[in-house]
Amino acid sequence: MSADARRDLATRQGELVRALVAGGPLPSGFDDLRTSTTSGALLRKRMRGVERTWPGLARGLGADYRVYFAAFAQAHPMSGEGLYRLDGRRFTEWLLARGEEPSDAGRLELFLERLSGRFAFAAMGFPGWGETRFGVRLPHIGIVQIRIPLYLGPNRLRGVRLEST
């Protein structure tokens, strides 16, 4: 098999995938309506996958979840491993960076996700619950958490955001 044939296929498939999930132009010859129906189905599947993996986050956003996620998804096509876990993490961080406040249940999911690395450390404030958690994942032991009954915002926690993942 020539490397040229593989390069050619990569280009054709790359154009199609970007058209389907990243708002790229549709390559010629494809049916407009059928491919846009496919785009919608792919977005719904992704949205549902993240919702199932990050239920607290999605529930906290209510009807806005779909609006925010659709906006996030086109600009951030999926890549890499552990698709919905990683996708939900990027989505939550995207929300935080925009100043949107995820619910405490969503924050908890992000906190635990940040602790999923092998030697991870994370700190997170939960305004609704009025508490702050510090967590570390230790080999052979798992996640160890300390809770303090006081909400510390991101500015106060900046110095302790050392998670290695």
Binding site: M1, G29, F30, L42, K45, R46, R52
Partner: protein, 282 residues
């Protein structure tokens, strides 16, 4: 006609949400696990119990992207191989599809262009997979809402040549055949006849729903009656070694799943009776 594998009877796609139902169901001959969601080192008690009971466990990959431009990823292949070894699986399965290109994940199975160049790449990728797997691989037909422009081959001819050249087994998704018939007007029985049915390993049956005149294969809705009718037609045509229900989301009550399994069994019995020329009362 000889068959490629032993008989497995009825099966179901193993999902954590329906694990208790599967655990309590004595009539299942096999389950299929999603390779990406089961850790070969820590498969969990539920699956090990099934294995002890003699239920065959078939690892099913969804992210190998055999129809992609890249060679299959060694880490994904190793995981499939480890699962097959852990569960002493008779074979593993994957799709005739690609799921990523140039670093972007589609998040679902996409159809490949049906031309000679792509077929050659697929054959080569399947060969790479076969070299690192301890058991045979079965390849599944997918469904899509669109087609690549000006295909050089029919889907049946494309699949047949792929299976002939790789000697891979066939995993036939009857619901996908139904979707293609509904969305593109393809003739499902002609499609069955165009396939090398002597290489049939097992069959997928799943549900879907219609949206604005387009049939979506969702695995989250009931199996349409027409799909069960196609199962009967297929069983009337050839001996089918195993058939399984696929349900991935919006899990219904256990009784509804039991009912679908019973309907599936009835369709198989009716088809087998037609094939054997036995009058069959449903």
């Amino acid at each position: 006609m000889t068959t490629a594998t032993r008989d497995f009877g009825l099966g179901i796609g193993w999902r954590a949400e329906i694990a208790p139902l599967i655990d309590c169901h004595a009539g299942l001959g096999f389950v299929e696990i999603v390779a990406e969601s089961v850790d070969p080192k820590h498969p969990g008690d539920a699956l090990l119990r099934l294995m002890d009971r003699g239920v065959a466990i078939i690892p099913h990959g969804i992210s190998l992207s055999l129809g992609g431009a890249e060679y299959p990823d060694p880490a994904r292949l190793e995981r499939l191989a480890k699962l097959a070894e852990r569960f002493r699986s008779p074979f593993v399965s994957e799709h005739v599809a690609f799921v990523r290109a140039e670093g972007v994940e589609a998040g679902h199975l996409l159809p490949v262009p049906r031309d000679r160049e792509t077929l050659d790449i697929l054959v080569e990728n399947v060969g790479v997979a076969q070299k690192s797997l301890p058991v045979p691989i079965a390849l599944e037909n997918i469904t899509a809402l669109f087609e690549w422009p000006s295909p050089a081959m029919t889907e049946g001819a494309f699949l047949r040549e792929l299976l002939d050249r790789t000697r891979a087994l066939l995993l036939l998704d009857v619901a996908n055949v139904f979707a293609a018939a509904k969305n593109f007007g393809h003739d499902p029985l002609a499609f069955f006849r165009s396939l090398p049915l002597d290489r049939l390993a097992y069959v997928h049956v799943g549900g879907g729903e219609e949206h604005d005149g387009v049939y979506h294969d969702t695995h989250a809705h009931a199996v349409p009656a027409e799909v069960f009718a196609l199962v009967e037609d297929l069983c009337a045509m050839t001996h089918v070694p195993g058939l399984m229900l696929e349900r991935d989301d919006q899990f219904p009550e256990p009784e509804d799943i039991e009912r679908e399994l019973a309907t599936l069994a009835a369709a198989v019995a009716a088809g087998n009776a037609r094939r054997n020329g036995v009058p069959h009362v449903r």
